[in-house]
Symmetry: C2
Subunit: 176 residues, 2 copies
Amino acid sequence: MSRRILGVDPGSRITGFGVIDLVGQQRHYVASGCIRTPQGAPLAERIKVIIDGLFGVIDTYQPHEAAIEQVFVNVNPAATLMLGQARGACVSALVMRNLAVSDYTALQVKQSVVGHGKAAKEQVQHMVVRMLNLSGTPQADAADALAVALAHANLSGGAIGELARQGLKVRGGRLV
Amino acid sequence: MSRRILGVDPGSRITGFGVIDLVGQQRHYVASGCIRTPQGAPLAERIKVIIDGLFGVIDTYQPHEAAIEQVFVNVNPAATLMLGQARGACVSALVMRNLAVSDYTALQVKQSVVGHGKAAKEQVQHMVVRMLNLSGTPQADAADALAVALAHANLSGGAIGELARQGLKVRGGRLV
């Protein structure tokens, strides 16, 4: 049996997405890319671009479940608020397509994909390329989204993954 | 000709909504209330409650346009992020129902409804009750949402309101 996982790396300017198939213990690359919002456009317009973009990805690739990075920045309150709004739009798109949504911190993603939480961005990208046997390195946000999907595959296997597919809520690989 | 305006006051725990009709220079109360998200529930669940709640309001009252308060708090980054996510979910619901969305700061709302930007919450509530000829005081978040709708009615009249209804973007009463 195969599980198709959509990973999302939300951002106010670029939202990365990555789709993988988990077949037994094998991970297969399906698709990845990024959704760019028009800079300087009103929030409503940017949110519409994010939602329409994710709807397009979901409708095209039909994932069974979704995982999203638990962003955290503290550059300044306005930037934090903006990032929160973009992430809220991403989660909105996922729940409106009835996908179970799991949250992972950057630490969890790095620990799961690279083996330690302090891994550099390049190490994460390197492991994504290696684990998915890619011929090139994806764009940075797309690679992050693939890493989130891989972390979810690693952390939500077995019984918890089964329950997640039945619609129960999973956070950080645990049922909540 | 009548314009029906939905005002929204987003919050991570309580999102207020208020619907008014603008008939010529007359403002009429239509409905108001609040959407409460389950405390301690995962974000995806809370966002689903906000979206389903706003969809219910929009589908029931069929507003022509929407106005939303431009929240800004800086209690701490986590609270700011959470509020941003809730606001992103609100805007998502509005744009998915194809409503033109106008943003107003708390300052703009107070200036427009009370006459000065430093007005206390109680003064705003008092003016909402008076302007809409209400027999009782609405719950605080519902009153804030009605105030946002009233501010939009005041600030978006004439040509700008007409263009907004045709789908052009308005921010703070100005076309952008």
